[in-house]
């Protein structure tokens, strides 16, 4: 039996700015459990008047890091929760969470590959947990990440992606920019489409496991395209983040 899902109070031990709109909170958890990459935590906030609301945030860190978890939070300007998490929380503050949660959108090295990860905006967060886990396990599983952002400034974990891909012949990270590409950019400058998916997948061979995470409309378009290209629907796992545009 898995243990009951209980709320626990974590302590924020670090806050790191990733992009102008995203921050990563490191939480130390008294009842920490190793997550499966792709799982999320529910975060609960209670206002002074008792109003309580919850949001889900994917674990960004690898489960090999015991005792703590990173949650990367994108600031939604009119959001109820994310402005508090991004603008107010400081190291030493406490946060009520429960997790890890979910068994559907998960990957670990025991599932093998080849691995095709497709992320839009902050949808890259659970995919990063998968890549960090893959790196921590030194698993030579062929992997591609196709990551759609509005602009280079909005790319989360950019330097880490470059570092991960640099020392790893089996990993390739491909960016596409949908609004502003950096000067001199020769890569993709459009929304993800079947031709792009085909190019990125080409070298992966058969039996691809695909994980697609991002704004709902991106996930719909990409998952339909992958199935139309012949990937079995059971190997196209999706996680929709709702309306955030890329």
């Amino acid at each position: 039996m898995q243990p009951a899902l209980e709320w626990q109070v974590g302590e924020v031990t670090r806050v790191r700015t990733e992009t102008p709109r995203t921050k990563t909170l490191t939480l130390a958890l008294p009842k920490w459990m190793a997550h499966r990459p792709g799982q999320h935590y529910d975060v609960s906030l209670t206002a002074p008047d008792g109003y309580r609301t919850e949001r889900s945030y994917s674990a960004a860190s690898e489960p090999e890091r015991a005792g703590e978890v990173d949650l990367t939070v994108e600031r939604i300007d009119d959001g109820e929760v994310s402005p508090y998490l991004d603008d107010v929380l400081m190291p030493g503050d406490q946060l009520e969470v429960r997790g890890p949660i979910g068994g559907y959108f998960v990957w670990d090295v025991s599932l093998g590959g080849p691995l095709l990860l497709i992320g839009g905006g902050s949808g890259v967060v659970p995919l990063m947990a998968m890549l960090r886990h893959r790196a921590a396990q030194k698993a030579p599983i062929p992997a591609r990440l196709l990551y759609s952002s509005r602009s280079a400034q909005e790319v989360i974990y950019r330097t880490e992606f470059e570092r991960l891909a640099d020392g790893d012949g089996e990993l390739e990270v491909v960016f596409t920019f949908t609004r502003h590409a950096p000067p001199g950019w020769t890569g993709y400058q459009r929304r993800i489409d079947p031709a792009m998916l085909d190019e990125v997948m080409q070298s992966l061979g058969n039996g691809v496991r695909s994980y697609v995470c991002g704004p709902t409309l991106l996930v719909e378009a990409v998952s339909n395209a992958l199935v139309a290209m012949g990937l079995p629907a059971g190997r196209v796992r999706t996680e929709r983040f709702g309306p955030t545009g890329t």
């Binding site: 039996m1 898995q2 009951a4 899902l5 999320h40 529910d42 919850e54 889900s56 429960r98 997790g99 949660i101 979910g102 068994g103 559907y104 959108f105 704004p215 709902t216 409309l217 719909e220 796992r237 999706t238 996680e239 929709r240 983040f241 709702g242 309306p243």
Partner: protein
């Protein structure tokens, strides 16, 4: 429903994975890999892959094939209501 409302509903849609915490609270186990058979069209889907509409007073889970409502969850201050009449059955592994 006019197109604009339909487009907005579509953009706000998430998936069953987003309510994994609520489902686990109700069932005491992870339900995202449990399979729900739609009572309407008889297709099977893992509950994590159901279409989820969470912006209303409760949660509605819909069949990804025919879009029929499979389950509705409403939480009040004292109780949780689960209306799952849109599922012919839910199948979960015997060892969670």
């Amino acid at each position: 429903m006019d197109d604009e409302v339909a487009d907005m509903n579509m953009a706000l849609m998430v998936d069953g994975n987003a309510v994994a915490g609520e489902l686990q609270q109700i069932f005491g186990r992870d339900m995202t890999t449990a399979v729900a058979r739609c009572a309407g069209c008889a297709s099977d889907a893992e509950m994590g892959a159901l279409l989820a509409f969470t912006r209303g007073p409760g949660v509605v889970l819909r069949c990804p094939t025919c879009r029929a409502a499979i389950a509705r969850i409403v939480e009040t201050t004292t109780a949780i209501y689960l209306d799952a009449r849109g599922a012919a059955y839910v199948r979960m592994g015997s060892r969670p």
